[in-house]
Symmetry: C2
Subunit: 338 residues, 2 copies
Amino acid sequence: MPPARPPHPPVSSIDVARLAGVSQSAVSRAFSPGASVSPKMRAKVLEAAAALGYRPSVIPRIMLSGRSRMIGIVVGGLDNPFYAAVLDHFATALQTRGLQTLMMRVPHALSLDGALDQLAGYRVDAVVTALAVGSRQAASALSALRIPIVCFNSRLTAPWISTIRSNNRAAGRLAAELLADRGVRRAAWLAGPADSAAARERGRGFADGLAARGLLPPIVLAADDSYDGGYAAMGALMHREPPPAGLFCSNDLMACGAIDALRARGLSVPGDVLVAGYDNIPQAAWHGYDLTTFDQQAEQMAAAALELLDDPATATGGQSRTIPARLIERGSTSGLIT
Amino acid sequence: MPPARPPHPPVSSIDVARLAGVSQSAVSRAFSPGASVSPKMRAKVLEAAAALGYRPSVIPRIMLSGRSRMIGIVVGGLDNPFYAAVLDHFATALQTRGLQTLMMRVPHALSLDGALDQLAGYRVDAVVTALAVGSRQAASALSALRIPIVCFNSRLTAPWISTIRSNNRAAGRLAAELLADRGVRRAAWLAGPADSAAARERGRGFADGLAARGLLPPIVLAADDSYDGGYAAMGALMHREPPPAGLFCSNDLMACGAIDALRARGLSVPGDVLVAGYDNIPQAAWHGYDLTTFDQQAEQMAAAALELLDDPATATGGQSRTIPARLIERGSTSGLIT
């Protein structure tokens, strides 16, 4: 049986017209701002509509205009509070503008194509995706849909595809400088998945920054980009050698995991090891972590995306905007390593 | 300027028909499973469609059937990871069934009415909401829409409105028994907002459970249902008197805040105080908290909601389903208070 079918069709304008004793066109006019209808007729229609629980459908308007006032938001799992916050900011910003959020949750970047096919069927006005468009080939398939697409933290732009990103490389460099200033001589980089361009840039900036201070390249720890990933990677390192005095993690979830792994082995953060992350998730501000991090300013990213989509000159893609990540210094880097 | 308008209308079936040199109806048939169209004709249409990036619109089907295959999901902020997880489970479950998620983010329960008005305009097939329907009056306004609605943790059912809830009271009682078994003689209840029926039931069950063991009623601490709320309430209590030996919190976020407040004052969890929460958010499993909690089993709640909506006999509302919350015992209640 097809799921979620209302057992009765919704109340239609025909039902309202019948109860009010007016024409269907009069019902339609009563609900169209500025349309010609007498106050008396409008009152009659609204009374019947209220009695029946009728709400005018936006579907005919979508059919005529090809515009749905729905924006597709594609996300890949909400277990990282950063993605939940981005979605939250977007849904709020869209609603403020009278737009709707058609949310698509896809398992991984490869499913972006299929998601967009479905969103295209609903005639979404635009798509915003937290998943990067991985290749030129994928980009040209998406461009063919002629739907404005804005990606986060992607490197690629193309016709119809724009990107909004954090200044990942500069932030990585800043993290290195901060740790060096606190006396760190040997640092590690807790890298996220290899397929994330944003994570790679953060790591590159961090290595640049250490080199600029005449320090050794970071110990690179590959890890899953989750709390458990950070915990496991840090734990494994400490089985082999003493931990480095400073640690930069490609996201906050991994940093929280790494901090707990250090403490589980009796080490203090920031007493023995300084730790910094990326994203400024709510948990970074929790007293148990008090984590220095970079705020990607999701609200500004959302605003920038909507600005690109608002302007016909930029909605057709090919644009790139950088939102500076803001360093949030907290207790996890407050000590001096001696 | 109206936001998010694609500067060009999407490719239409007319464009495809023109390029393929066939009728518009042939294009429509080529995209309708089971429709009569020759393989040669279909190939011609699909080739033209691919060249133009055409995707068939679902809008005419919605207009004819009054069914959109979109489900409205109403949430009130995603800063509690529990709500993010619920949304995540729902979006995944809906996609598995070929349904779409029209997400509405509303500031508070009072805005449910307005949200449903908008969702009704898009002809959603049903609405699932994390916000409770507060009053009989609100319920009858919503019933008038004749859209199947499923609420989480609401007490109220009505025509078209069903509810799925956790066995909050039984869980509260179980929390009391667990703490009493561990030697707690004086306990506190960190209550959430007064307008949450679910939180009130958890507190009532907790008080019942303590009474059944012959213990004093819990010290009741009112708090905002956030990490900061838990931190502040616990901190304020300790300024007045020594903390109770056991603490039950109406959600995990508050419990994490309370634990950090206890530790900030040099107390150990579970050495000095045992703590339990509710929701089983990911952070409850983090080593830094290792929090005993109740898992609401969001996946089962989502499945139960879709089951209600699938069946015409239950989609019309008035149903109530209880999903047992599962006790997850962790380190935060592992000690024995002596």
